[in-house]
């Protein structure tokens, strides 16, 4: 289903959680709303679900497949996975999943055999057939998460909304569930929106990322776009590690100091100064445990630079702590309007 949000604002007392946000989510997409806490991403998700209502401003509209929704209606046939799952503690796993089917009005309600079949099907989807009779308090975090997902999917939602779905889980479980969710989405492409503050999670799972800051959309695009072509300094900083250089601009504003940003893997280390501008510094720390080798260089200007390089290249060079090296920037960015945190 296609969702359009137009001019959505929401304030709580004096605090503006959302400031005139417009957004489109396309059929079958998995979109991640990414941002720090307080950026308004959860409020936006709750507004899509109908759990919260936007301020009644001129032009504020929510459209599901073009049809305008009542801004204050709860039941929109959406699936919502709460941050802490909100499983019904007094019901078994089976009853939890069946809940949405059982509360339907009489004429729409499936009969008991159909409900059983549907719940069993969902249980096998989440690979938890064996624990249908347990209560939520008897489940692990990852199991609860999957039950919450199955409960949301039971009502055949037009859109699936997930609020920090992996937030309360251990790192390892989180990774497994992330991949599992991605595969599930490929198999059953329900339009989905998930809220997260973890950029790695967003980059790995989502088809498209909406980066939010202070109640506004900062940038939206595919993971590749937002990672490699950030439109603002905030997006660049939020999506990964960044080295900050203070440099003097040449040309335009002569003499003005400006900040240059470069990702650790966009830097190159060599022993020779070579041609072009390179920064001289001393290797203070080398860390090789991880996907790439990380080298920390202290410049003569007193700044610390993080460089990442592939292990084979690192081995070929044989760099060790204490050496003097030259760091060259392969790719960097300058943003005109800087932000303050």
């Amino acid at each position: 289903m296609n969702i359009r949000l137009e001019h959505i604002s929401r304030s709580f007392g004096g605090f503006t959680a959302l400031d005139d946000v417009s957004l489109e989510i396309r059929e079958g997409e998995l979109v991640a709303l990414l941002g720090p806490s307080g950026s308004g991403k959860t409020t936006l998700l709750r507004i899509i679900a109908g759990l919260d209502a936007p301020d009644a401003r001129e032009g504020a509209r929510i459209r599901f497949d073009g049809a305008e929704m009542d801004l204050r209606a709860g039941a929109r046939q959406v699936g919502f996975v709460f941050q802490h799952y909100a499983l019904f503690r007094t019901m078994t796993v089976f009853e939890n999943i069946a809940f949405g089917l059982r509360v339907k009005p009489k004429r729409e309600r499936a009969d008991e055999t159909q409900i059983r079949a549907r719940v069993t099907e969902l249980l096998s989807l989440i690979q938890l057939e064996s624990i249908a009779g347990r209560y939520p308090s008897q489940l692990s975090g990852g199991q609860r998460q999957r039950v919450a997902l199955a409960r949301a999917l039971a009502i055949e939602p037009r859109i699936l909304l997930l609020d920090e779905p992996f937030g309360a889980l251990d790192a390892k479980v989180r990774q497994d569930l992330r991949r599992w969710l991605r595969r599930l989405h490929d198999k059953m492409p329900v339009t989905s929106v998930l809220v997260t503050h973890d950029q790695e999670e967003a980059l790995e799972v989502a088809d498209r990322i909406v980066v939010m800051r202070a109640g506004k959309v900062e940038q939206e695009g595919t993971p590749e776009e937002v990672f490699h072509h950030p439109k603002t300094a905030f997006v660049m900083d939020f999506l990964g590690n960044v080295n900050l250089f203070h440099a003097r601009m040449e040309g335009g504003h002569t003499g003005a100091m400006t900040q240059v940003r470069a990702r650790p893997h966009d830097l190159e280390v060599s022993r020779e100064e070579g041609s072009g501008s390179a920064v001289r510094g001393k290797v203070t720390r080398v860390q090789t445990a991880g996907a790439a080798a990380k080298i920390e260089v202290a410049t003569e200007g007193g700044e610390t630079i993080m460089v990442e390089m592939a292990h084979d290249r690192f081995k070929a060079m044989g760099i060790a702590a204490g050496e003097t090296v030259f760091v060259r920037v392969k790719d960097a960015r300058v943003f005109v309007e800087d932000y303050t945190i």
Binding site: G50, L51, R72
Partner: protein, 283 residues
């Protein structure tokens, strides 16, 4: 205006039933509590100031205020001391039967006041279990001010125990250990560290026991003897006026008592609020 006005009065919520539940709760509260109280108030306000003072501040009524307040204070003070000890033992020590002791503390809440009234009178009357030996020592309890205090200690005890015990449970053991490590002896630790930390709860419990004692009727009237100017409590005086069909006087005295009780209710809320905010800032 509509939308925005409604919004400032009530935060948006998706859950149903606000109007129905708030409406019903407010209506029921108004009918059962507020309307009758207002009826009493309107009766009092229709009196002239002179009528009011004659009814509410005559010598006999003043004497009843005096004995009620003094006996309630004495009882609350006794409860503060012994209730504290009971709470301390229940939280800190495990002795055989502590569970039963813990349960029995609620007896005054559960036992009808008329029952406690007649049984205390029987126990403390000159030929009762406690009254006889005390009479030999020349101490009269039943039908004296002392009897009133005994009855009020009985009904006020759980208030202190049930307020102080959770506070003792919440004490930070590290503070206590730190004081111990600093070489401060146990008694000094108690006076300087523990007692100040427990003071808000103790004050709260004392005030609740005191407030309950001020209005108490059933457990007191049997043991008090009810001699005017001496052992006649205010609650009984209201009933006496009612039995004489002197509704005005009864209402006037009740109004004075209500004013006192509401003042105390505010004080209790204030103490509770302060305890709450202390907890919050500690968290």
């Amino acid at each position: 205006m509509g939308e925005a006005g409604a919004r400032t009065w009530k935060q948006y919520s998706i859950l149903p039933g606000f109007g129905l539940t708030l409406g019903y709760a407010s209506l029921y509260l108004s009918l059962i509590v507020l309307l009758p109280l207002a009826a009493l108030a309107s009766g009092v306000f229709s009196m002239t100031w002179e009528e009011f003072t004659r009814a509410a501040f005559s010598a006999r009524v003043m004497a009843s205020y005096r004995v009620t307040v003094l006996a309630s204070l004495a009882a609350a003070a006794i409860n503060a001391v012994f209730g504290f000890i009971v709470a301390w033992c229940l939280v800190r020590y495990r002795f055989p039967g502590w569970r039963i002791v813990d349960a029995i503390v609620d007896l005054p809440f559960a036992l009808p006041t008329a029952v406690s009234g007649i049984v205390l009178t029987t126990l403390y009357s000159p030929n009762g279990w406690f009254g006889a030996p005390l009479a030999k020592l020349g101490v009269k309890v039943a039908y004296t001010e002392l009897g009133i205090v005994v009855a009020l200690v009985f009904i006020g005890l759980p208030f202190v125990v049930r307020t102080v015990a959770p506070a003792i449970e919440d004490l930070d053991p590290e503070t206590e250990q730190a004081a111990g490590c600093l070489g401060v002896n146990r008694w000094q630790t108690f006076v300087r560290v523990l007692l100040p930390a427990l003071m808000p709860a103790l004050t709260s419990g004392f005030t609740m026991a005191f407030a309950r004692a001020l209005g108490e009727y059933g457990s007191v009237i049997f043991i008090a003897g009810n001699r005017p100017m001496k052992t006649e409590i205010t609650a009984l005086l209201i009933v006496t006026k009612l039995e004489q069909f002197d509704y005005q006087a009864a209402s006037a005295i009740a109004a004075v008592m209500l004013a006192g009780s509401f003042g105390l209710l505010m004080a209790i809320n204030y103490f509770e609020w302060r305890r709450g905010s202390r907890h919050r800032s500690a968290a």
